[in-house]
Amino acid sequence: MTTDVSQRFLARDNVYLPHIAVIEKIIDETPGVVTLHFNFKDEKLREEFTFKPGQFGEYSVFGIGEATFCISSSPTRRDHLEFAVQRVGKVTNALHRLDVGSEMGFRGPYGNGFPLDSFAGKNLVFVAGGIGLAPLRSLIWNVIDDRDKYEKIDIVYGARSPADLCFKYDLDAWGNDSSINMVTTVDKGDASWTGREGFVPQVLEQAAPSARNAVAIVCGPPIMIRFTFPVLEKLGFTPEQMFTTLEKRMKCGIGKCGRCNIGNLYVCRDGPVFSFAQIKGFISSEY
């Protein structure tokens, strides 16, 4: 396996022992999603901690449990770390109840992350839906902070309604950046919505970014991903040029607890980022 574990930040040599982190800021993204900014209590770790866009962590609310979230901030912006949480159950509800100053636990970074080096010199097409923008915004900010290394940037982002758009401050910033071609869409607008309406795959088809020297990075609800890949193929993208991150039920995050496998691959360890070529090669449709 090719997992890079050169960056291990273990608390007292125990891979299951979380680092204590403090919530520094809370941003309401949508009615069900918050972004939490945090920093490690341990100053040395605060300095040394590094990660790659697309990697994730196991976050603890002590007494409630652990859950899996990608790191949504960019490694190039190290003042603090961020993650975005959609409220769906036990731990996510508990995370929503935290205040600024609350402590939580963090283990990570885990997973492979995006193959950023192989994106250098390419045109980048980002396609995201809903909270699926979380892992991509880490990558997008990283790319923007290293803008010279990459060619054209296209971003297509959509949500069900204007109220469901996450990271509106980013959408504005990217929209105002003349080096980025940004399209925001909603499935259905409301009275005050003046922007695009339509599903992400259709809007992508109209935007029609060229597949020449390009890679597409797609993240969102399974249904969006399913309809986006064929559109990209029509635009000339090969399976090797398309990437996504997969989501499986996870507990350990490090390939031990057993539940996140697709055949012999463990999404926590061998993923969560896969090219569509890899996905096509999976032995099973169980993803």
């Binding site: 574990v5 040599d13 449990g65 350990c252 057993g258 012999n264 032995i283």
Partner: protein
């Protein structure tokens, strides 16, 4: 034979006594109902009469069904995490069967892969395994198909062979050799003992008649992976109770949870099982909601995915999943009847 020893059976208690000075000694015990490797009470050696194999596999001595990972406490300075005191006490397990010792060698691979599992590995490093060859295997045993001989083991430190009124004792590892050298009151093994032990081992080998065909097993599983009819047929009678996985000496899936309150409590892990649909359930979908997918996962994991990743088959042929299944599900039938295609 060089470095081998012998002991009369009635002296077994004395030997365990001596080892108890240095080790916490575990032996086969029915104290909690289901036979397991439990701390020796200092006198009872009746297991020498009834013991064939444990129901609870010795993995439980290294990877217990419930295990505290750490305690947490919220104070004025925030959260404090406390690891359980590291168990410095040396352990000795007496009587482990060759299949179950192999199972630990198998588990070592996953618990060391990429990230070290500190709980399992520290107990492993602290433990001496004293194997006891089988003389009376079950008809559900098929260890010989997995390259294991019921009377021999390379996965233990010391190996005992029942020669009738005594045991022939052979060191297997350096750790075993050292222990043997430091153990008093043992006679040197005689040539006659060695010859007798050889017969016993061969007889045990011949007693295993159940077989599976492991030739090209990965390719054959791959060929019928999408054969839903076959997997549905195979899974039909399974009631998804999870016994076959909990009691399998090589199954290691676990869950992680917290208990007590947000101010003070424990994070623990507990055995989990791919037999349960909730194991993989997510809000919008579940990749293994259907039972046949879960049964297929169990079989393919052991005989295909695990060896691809870690170079060793995750089954020892101990037969527990056959003997202890409430509906007589049989992994050997499943493997021997694989259809040639989808």
């Amino acid at each position: 034979m060089a470095d081998s020893k012998r002991i009369n059976k009635e002296d077994t208690g004395r030997l365990l006594d001596e080892w108890s000075k240095e080790f916490s000694v575990s032996v086969p015990s029915r104290e909690n109902g289901m036979p397991a490797m439990l701390p020796w009470d200092g006198k009872d050696t009746s297991f020498l009469e009834w013991y064939r194999n444990t129901v609870i596999p010795p993995k439980a001595n290294f990877f217990p069904p419930y295990e505290k990972m750490f305690d947490f406490q919220k104070g004025a300075e925030g959260y404090h995490l406390e690891l359980p005191p590291s168990d410095k006490q040396k352990q000795l397990i007496f009587g482990i069967r060759p299949c179950d010792a192999r199972a630990l060698t198998i588990l070592d691979t996953v618990f060391q892969d990429t990230y070290q599992d500190p709980y399992y590995l520290s107990r492993r490093a602290n433990t001496v395994l004293v194997g006891l060859g089988c003389t009376n295997p079950y008809d559900s045993c098929f260890c010989t198909s997995l390259g294991i001989s019921p009377g021999e083991s390379t996965d233990v430190d010391l190996m005992f062979t029942d020669t009738g009124d005594g045991f022939f004792i052979e060191p297997v590892s350096d750790k075993g050799r050292e222990l043997l050298a430091a153990t008093g009151g043992l006679e040197d093994g005689l040539e006659a003992d060695e010859a007798r032990a050889k017969d016993v081992k061969e007889a045990a080998y011949r007693k295993i008649t159940r077989r599976i065909d492991t030739g090209d097993i990965q390719q054959r599983l791959a060929a019928c992976f999408e054969n839903q009819d076959y997997w549905e047929k195979v899974a039909a009678k399974c009631v998804s109770c999870g016994i076959c996985t909990f009691l399998c000496p090589t199954c290691y899936c676990f869950d992680i949870n917290d208990e007590l309150s947000q101010d003070e409590g424990t994070r623990f892990r507990s055995w989990d099982s791919c037999s349960f649909p909730i194991y993989t359930r997510m809000p919008m979908e579940n990749p293994r909601q259907e039972k046949w997918r879960r049964v297929r996962q169990k079989v393919c994991h052991k005989y295909w995915f695990y060896p691809v990743n870690l170079d060793i088959t995750a089954c020892t042929g101990c037969g527990r999943c056959i003997r202890l299944c409430p509906v007589n599900w049989d992994i050997t039938q499943t493997l021997n009847n694989l259809p040639a295609s989808s």
